[in-house]
Amino acid sequence: MLAKINSYALNGLDGYGVTVEVDIHMGLPSIDVVGLPDTAIKESRERVRSAIKNSGYDFSPRKITVNLAPAHTKKEGPIFDLAIALGMLVSTEQAGIDERKTPLKSVNDYVFLGELSLSGEVARVNGVMPMLIAAREQGVKKIVIPKANINEAKYIRDIEIYAVESLRDAVALIDGATRTPIDCCDVVLGGEASGGEDLKYVKGQYAAKRALEIAAAGGHNIIMIGSPGGGKTMLAKCLPTILPDMTEAEALETTKIHSVAGILDESCGIVTTRPFRSPHHTTSRVALTGGGPSAKPGEISYSHNGVLFLDELPEYPRSVLEILRQPLEDGVVTVSRAARSVEYPANFMLVASMNPCPCGYYGSATHQCTCSPSQIQKYMSRISGPLLDRIDLHIDVDEVHYDDLTKESNTESSADVRARVNAARAVQTARYAGTNVHSNAKMTSEMIKKYCVLDAAGERILQAAFDKLGMSARAYTRILKVARTIADLDGKTDITSAHVAEAVMYRSLDKAVK
């Protein structure tokens, strides 16, 4: 008898329904899986066989064909295990039938997701959150997931979600046992990110701290330049503690990616604080940007709606830096696999640090630089102009004097800064409501025209800055966006000349390059 069980698969973050068809016929015992399965699916024959036996069902040798429809898309992972096992049980009339051995229609009301262990337990799978969202959008009413995935599933409303622990559980469900769907709960956002350091432990560095505050408030890309030991890495590590709270939409977007990638915190099930990713410069290109045989997302997508911190920027391979240009511009990254390409969101705030020269001490007040001018130039040119063009804030971070380091001063804590950042971000969220822009940094040129109007005094000071400080034209929109954020932090609707003047301070590379 032919059995059909519904399951679900992902292409990037988009889900689509897969029908698992199982047929039993005469012939030499074998199990064939067709419909472009990958190796993990082919291996599921063995898992399914053991799981069925160990759950106490009959698994006498037969000739079995499993088809994953639609047959033209490549399918991967162990996520179809449960559906295949159920298919086999239904087609051998061990489940999903009534007393008169006619198949129950209710079987096809459900979509099944889950990996099986040899003992018949249903194990956790990746990508449940995006599949639930996609399934809901496509009108699926009931979906069965592994109990281990319950934490990420509970935030999805308007779809009945059933959590099962074992194959027997699932069989009971389709045989008509009454079960209640899992309880939904609200997304609770905010709270301090774990792992960040508090700004109050950073002595001095007032200008740098202020720049970080502006960057966090407006989501601006920022680069810190300075000699070794100046505190660049330390400052960046403080950033998680001052990032603004996520909106619910942002949290779900980021969770979808983490869910697919399998890096979601199981106990929590949702990303509620902005991710802060700091991949090392030796990290492979695929790990950074995504890819591989199954076109998985990479670090730059993990940092979606959060921070991507690239410490020692010039050490990263040039090819990686070039790839960053697309996500910095469009907020998405295209990951290619054999036959087609998948897009993942990658709307991150880039935080980078670098030394000013190979030895690190060019321009330092305390050390002598030993590099030749051509070495310095070569070092700087490792970072291409187009990449620098997309960085709004440049700051010099120089060593703090020993006296200041040991001085007891009452500096602000991260919580104080975060309160201001949150207020400024709330203004932006309200301003950009109904668009897919969340922060000042991502303003379109149309929005810049509308929201970054300068008064005469502001125009004058910007003009003077260009003449006097030799700034390049590309700095223009960057300064406007930053001035907008400074005004938001200041709680002002209009950008004043004071805001513009401050924004001009954060273009040190523009002044240096000339």
Binding site: Y206, R210, P373, I376, D396, V400
Partner: protein, 354 residues
């Protein structure tokens, strides 16, 4: 053969200028050309020099060279020409037989001042160069060597102030370097003067740069060294200046910085210390034609930052503590002062009044 063609012959023979001038002490160029086949001359020259001269002693060859220069828009002036810079025609300078140039030679008629220094300039050196040269350029033609660092800043500041500037190359005009200054080179060819004693196709070597330094100092009445370490090439220029009887000026620097050791040492040995353009104007009794900047009305915050800096240079953090302002307030005030040009960043994160 006209005399200028004979000088061109000497230049194209690629014999070191020093040797040419030694020869010319004994005989005129025409004597050398005419009696070249005499044994007397042959025995008075070493083989290499003789070979080089003989190879190029060919009227056709020289005509071809002239045609090549003309078709490539390279102008030249020989010692036979009345417009040859008189300052160079001095034994101590070791005047080259020919100067190849692009641009306007007449700007050498104005009083000339060389401004040189390290290629690895600090922000201090950069600022001092720009500020001083902007004023000096109102009365002097600024001569330098097109290198990165101080040289480049000097050229740029002179151009920005609408003044005249001369780049003396250590290579032929077709091989100007460094690449980062090529745009500057083009601008100098348009609005100033680029010159070289080397034929246009000559590549620079480690010997050509020290050689051309004598021309930089030779063209000028004085040499201003802004920043130099002990081994800096700009000290060679200063030495040439002393040998040629030119004045040497130096900007004093931090005694702990390697980049200042050369300049401070010059001052110790008698160079004239320069802390502003007026020092040089006064020395030459020339008038500073640059008008003083207009006064700007400062608001309270700006004024208090300026007052704090009048008490000595300060870092950003120190200013926050001294002025008692919030960081955004200070950023705004400081930015305005920087834009007005009343304050500048002396080195990274260290601010001082202009």
């Amino acid at each position: 053969m006209v005399l200028s063609d004979l000088y061109l012959w000497l230049s194209y023979s690629h014999i070191p200028t020093r040797k040419i001038n030694m020869l010319l002490e004994k005989m005129s160029p025409s004597q050398l050309w005419d009696s070249f086949d005499d044994d007397e001359i042959k025995y008075s020259l070493d083989d290499k020099t003789f070979g080089l001269l003989k190879r190029t002693r060919n009227k056709e060859y020289i005509d071809r060279a002239k045609y090549y220069l003309e078709s490539n828009n390279i102008k030249y002036v020989t010692r036979a020409d009345p417009i040859y810079p008189s300052a160079l025609a001095q034994k101590e300078v070791d005047p080259p037989p020919v100067l190849y140039y692009k641009g306007d030679l007449s700007i050498l008629m104005q009083p000339c001042l060389a401004v040189v220094g390290t290629r690895k300039a600090s922000q201090y050196g950069r600022y001092v160069t720009s500020r001083t040269v902007e004023e000096l350029a109102s009365a002097f033609t600024i001569v330098s060597g097109l290198a990165t660092g101080i040289d480049g800043y000097a050229h740029r500041a002179a151009l920005a102030a609408g003044g005249k500037t001369v780049a003396v190359l250590g290579s032929g005009l077709f091989h100007a370097s460094p690449t980062s200054n090529l745009a500057l080179f083009d601008e100098i060819c348009q609005n100033g003067l680029a010159l070289s004693e080397y034929t246009p196709d000559t590549h620079a070597t480690e010997y050509t740069f020290p050689q051309r330094n004598r021309i930089i100092s030779g063209l000028c009445s004085g040499v201003l060294v802004v920043e130099a370490s002990y081994k800096s090439g700009s000290l060679i220029t200063a030495n040439c200046a002393l040998d040629q009887g030119r004045d040497v000026f130096a900007v004093p620097g931090d005694i702990d910085k390697i980049r200042s050791q050369g300049t401070n040492n010059l001052i110790k040995h008698g160079a004239i210390a320069v802390t502003c353009a007026d020092d040089i104007f006064d020395y030459y009794s020339v008038k500073n034609k640059k008008e003083q900047p207009k006064t700007v009305a400062l608001d309270f915050a700006e004024q208090s930052v300026l007052d704090a800096l009048n008490g000595g240079e300060k870092s950003f953090d120190a200013l926050v503590d001294v002025c008692g302002m919030t960081v955004p307030e200070l950023n705004t005030a400081l930015s305005a002062l920087l834009i007005y040009g009343l304050v500048h960043e002396k080195s990274k994160n260290l601010y001082t009044v202009s």
